[in-house]
Symmetry: D2
Subunit: 401 residues, 4 copies
């Protein structure tokens, strides 16, 4: 069962699922208990309050759904929209593609705004569509905050500005799967109507909890949305929220305690410090990529993602070979290039509970693999560049000062 282990630790640098901190593993190391006893509602009540902080919302209503990111998407869409509704959605990579596929299969009328993979969402086109839509046929704008396949972060503030500029009432639905708890995310300030994330990303939990947060406007929409839904229906949750028992069906006890521990870690470090750490590690990664003489798949600096960096390899190299070799020789897990960029990019995930020396170990591994597969990298070059940046920017660990 464990035959795939190499000696020493796995270096997990896929953009999710990410390393689980020992404190969280520990908190989840527990038996089941009766979820109808007073204990679980008491735990849930506080969790629901605290989880709003990671979305930076006070007016939102969160749902902790036993599902994955794909389920969280479905929850966001089906609770707020009706079949046939027109929505604008941006295709910029594999994950936005999958969300659009879901939107279409759920029978929405999807107005797809496509960009090259490596570019951000084309918000100029959004502006014209919104501007032209005097009759408000567009019911929602759906956007992936951070496209995990290409390492592209979209500008949510601008989306809000466009909607506001035209006083357009479309709902603003945001996939924050690989952004919440890692990138600057402001649900209330940016007027996001549904924000969602998954437990296995920057929260650094196991997979299994889709966290969805709905604005009052989204909740209002859910009263009339005609999409068929039961498992994902917010109203079932809201009914039990009112009763104070919180759960329409059995939650994962272990994930609730895990979430408690994960939030504690984030709040102790400080959410803004967590976000700053992500910025620091991402910048270090990018200077390393530059030192290797390789290109970032993300075409403009404004879109650089602080949670994942997709690196373009020379045409004579198959990026999948890099991923395979890293795993086989150095116990290093990197992200594959997906779909359009398969074979062309590999991805370094630098999100969640990770620190400077873990990243430098990863970068050193990437260098060796690059050389192994025939790219003439100067060993140490990326690490040197990243170290130079980190040595100047890494703060002391507050609890150890």
């Amino acid at each position: 069962m464990d035959y795939v282990y190499g000696p020493g630790r796995n270096h997990l640098f896929v953009p999710g699922p990410v390393n689980i901190p020992e404190q969280v593993t520990r908190a989840m190391n527990r038996n089941n208990e009766d979820y109808r006893s007073p204990a679980i509602p008491a735990l849930t009540k506080v969790l629901l309050e605290d989880v709003k902080k990671i979305f930076k919302t006070t007016s939102g209503t969160p749902f902790l759904i036993p599902t994955t990111g794909t389920g969280a998407w479905e929850s966001a869409l089906t609770n707020t929209l009706s079949p046939g509704d027109r929505i604008v959605s941006f295709l910029i990579g594999q994950f936005s593609l999958l969300w659009i596929d879901q939107q279409q299969r759920l029978n929405f009328n999807v107005d797809v705004v496509e960009s090259d993979w490596g570019q951000g969402a084309n918000l100029d086109i959004l502006a014209s569509k919104i501007g032209e839509d005097k009759s408000h046929t567009i019911k929602a704008v759906c956007i992936v905050h951070n496209e995990t396949a290409t390492g592209v972060t979209n500008n949510l503030a601008t989306v809000r500005k466009i909607l506001d500029h035209y006083q357009h009432p479309a709902l603003f639905l945001v996939d924050g799967v690989s952004s919440v708890c890692a990138l600057d995310f402001r649900m209330d300030e940016w007027g996001i109507d549904v924000a969602l994330t998954g437990s296995q990303k920057a929260l650094s939990l196991p997979t299994g909890m889709g966290i969805v947060c709905a604005s009052p406007k989204a909740l209002e929409a859910s009263k009339t949305a005609k999409s068929v839904r039961v498992f994902f229906d917010w109203n079932d949750y809201l009914k039990f929220y009112k009763l104070g028992t919180y759960w329409p069906y059995t939650p994962s006890i272990q994930l609730l305690y895990g979430l408690r521990a994960a939030l504690d870690l984030i709040f102790e470090e400080g959410l803004d410090n967590v976000i700053a750490r992500h910025g620091r590690l991402a910048k270090a990664t990018r200077v390393a990529v530059e030192a290797w003489g390789l290109k970032n798949c993300t075409q403009k600096e404004e879109w650089f993602s602080d949670t994942v960096t997709a690196v373009i390899v020379p045409s004579y190299i198959d990026s999948s070979e890099i991923v395979r070799r890293a795993w086989k020789q150095y116990n290093l897990s990197l992200g594959l290039g997906l779909n359009k960029v398969a074979g062309k990019v590999f991805r370094i995930g630098h999100l969640g509970n990770v620190n400077e020396l873990q990243l430098l170990g990863c970068l050193a591994g990437v260098e060796m693999v690059l050389k192994d597969v025939g790219y003439p990298v100067k060993l140490g070059s990326g690490v040197a560049a990243a170290s130079a940046y980190l040595q100047n920017s890494t703060p002391l660990i507050p609890s150890r000062i």
Copy 2:
């Protein structure tokens, strides 16, 4: 966070979530890993083979969905049926009620066959409906194998006989949530088209995995079923099964390893021995209830459940008070009476990885609570009756002989 603990172990006798064996907790005590590496597909492949054994099927196709029992229901229905389809469904307690609610909200035309709570599904009515349905308007028969709210087990073999007798092509969909791995369950022999269970029941895992198994006929139906679905769509799974990567979205690594450990335990004990143990513990519970002078909510012996016993309390006692007191004084978690039987019954769950002395401790606790709340039980009477039965029927533990 742990303020609800009393000293010593919690005595968890709700009918799920149940105690997780130490071997399973241990197996799940692990970090995340890259689910796209060769390790997880290799693990999944064997799990999919092995999980068929608990359904007693060789021709079925299992799906390990990151969801709960409610999601597993939705998966079973939406993959095989189209909106408007006529289905026959039996209302005999809270969980069959909830499933019917889901069926209605998913826009099926539900032909509800209701019985008193405490009775099994009325299969005579089924027989007439099926017999009358010459034009095959009934697309599916949906039945909860074991109604957890009342401790009633339905006779699945008879359902099959009825369908066969009339050569009726309706799909046969079975909720095995509180039965699979605990009660006699024969998917192939009984011609079940979709069988499903949840991880937190007799498999003794944490909540978070809905296990659904589809017959070839059900898979065929899924090709034309028009119910809208994405997260729950079997076809997405099947596509990745063919690719050998198995997962359309991120699975819970920990639950997969947990399932491996849970199946190992079941196979080591022997599935039929596991089922026999459930029979033994259930019988012991029933003789205790009789010794207390109390009535089983289940009205006939043919329906007695081997996984949960619902006990009727005298009218001058509120059964919720029993549950509350058991928890507050003896760290004993019993099941509440739900809906129609709220206040009237309490439930003893005796399913999953549990043994004789755990049950006797529970029964001793129930006796004390009964006395505490004013029922004139003779202390020790139920334990004596149960012990007399168990002392004669408990085999040596095979590994210790």
Copy 3:
């Protein structure tokens, strides 16, 4: 590796090692860390303060030695005495026998006061010896507070009274292995000079930490004691206490965190409540034994142990067969009769983090085994008697009121 597991939980009723509460297992589920970093000294400092509370001492100095009870004995003796020193020691069962064996092999001049197994230490003889010893040749009185082999608790207050009455300066060394955290234990009030316990007993930790607490007088004695010692030398510890680094050699990080969790649980419940719980469970056990028509190995009520009950079986039964059968059939671990009482008694350990229903499950198991091996017990009789007592005496769990 796990082939000895039966289904369900092991019912561990040997008088140590005892069940580890989930909170403690969880706390120990961690990686190593550098014990020379500031973290471990900070943790140790507080532990050393807190551990004094379980001995009820403010003037004592504790040592957390990576060893077992046997090592803790050796630490107590070699740090305070010199070869040839005359000591009085009481032989009343297997564990006092083993300590005396150690005392003799360490070259002390042991004045053994023997009693029948089942009786307490003969303090009348102690009184005469102390009274006669005008020249103070007796350097120490060594006594096992609770003889685990026979379930006999000695009266430590009387020992102190005798010493005080004759103004005798002998050191008072107490084995509290199966008593500390379970029985009334007052190091300061009773003028105990060295008290010791082991982690795997009432503290409910894994084996591996011997906890020894020395009075100022004992520390003074350690300055001149000529017994050869290095690993067990308190002075090495004291040197590092002064430096604030605390550890002369590598501690078990995991046990330190485990001790923290174990103490937290005890303090939350309240040490006196913990002791009362032990009294309650012990009394329940004794009334069950009486109901079975069996005899307690302990001959007088004043010596009844609240942590372990040794039960005499009829001469036609081999008590080892009871222990074997309990384990093989019911997953119940009972204590064997040791040495002189081998085959004649079996032991029920009721110490540590255990509660009422766990005990009642055990008692129900014992009843079935008694019947299995041919003793004409009335099934349910012991449980009935114990329940009757517990139903009247068990308080609500404070955190759940």
Copy 4:
């Protein structure tokens, strides 16, 4: 309790305690059980056989003592020697110093052969002492295989050659604390009479088990050795080995299962591959040190340790500041300089279950810290040198080929 954690993983590069692999943590995540049941003897029996393999002995008898390395030393000495016995011992660093201190306090007549810290044991002096000792007054030669304070590995084969050359019957006692399972170690071939190690070193377990292995000659010596001992007495163990119950006192159940898992990992990787990995990582560390322009505390290549490298810092830097800063800023735990080399060296432990990228992360961290404290290192230089070596020498992980 966890306030010392930084974000991400701790980089533990002290020369013990070392990182515990997840498989071992998992195996130890368990409740207590009755150590007198058949399960623990069965487990112990196989462990005792298997543990001999890590010493490369077939004739040795191992003891798994619940103690630390210091206790293992005491066990080796007191079981084989009598007070006043003349022994030759080598003082080359802090740990050999501590062992000599113990030898003297145990009243042996220690013939100390001192070398500069940074040099190996002076075997020329040993040769003359042995050669001159015609009357065999030397009863034992005691040597630390790997001096953890200076990173010096002694040549055990030469010691054996010297003893053989003069046909000297002295016992050959070896501290293998930081060598066994990491360095080439051949108990039988080198005629070692007592070899010992501690669980928290290359075995990668928690602290708490001293593993001592005695040759037939050592066992013979134990019959007449007059050193006082009880807790550490091999004869108590041997008595229980014969009985097949194995334990004279309570073992740590958890550490036994942990040892099982640790040995499984080592045997799966292959002991010789484990040793080769240590050689590889050590060599990588040394080339990095060289690239930084720093000196190895070990003065000659023949003594270079493959488990720990002590690095000399320029006189204007306090090496303790490096250790402090590494921990405070980068969550990197390095070894302090001890005693004579305090402030002058810092140590990089590269032993146990550790791999290439973990080490490279550590080296990158050291570089940044060196720069932080004012040493003009070229960032990336050490990592570049180490990577160049590792990229050529790291094999594919066998289970992943």
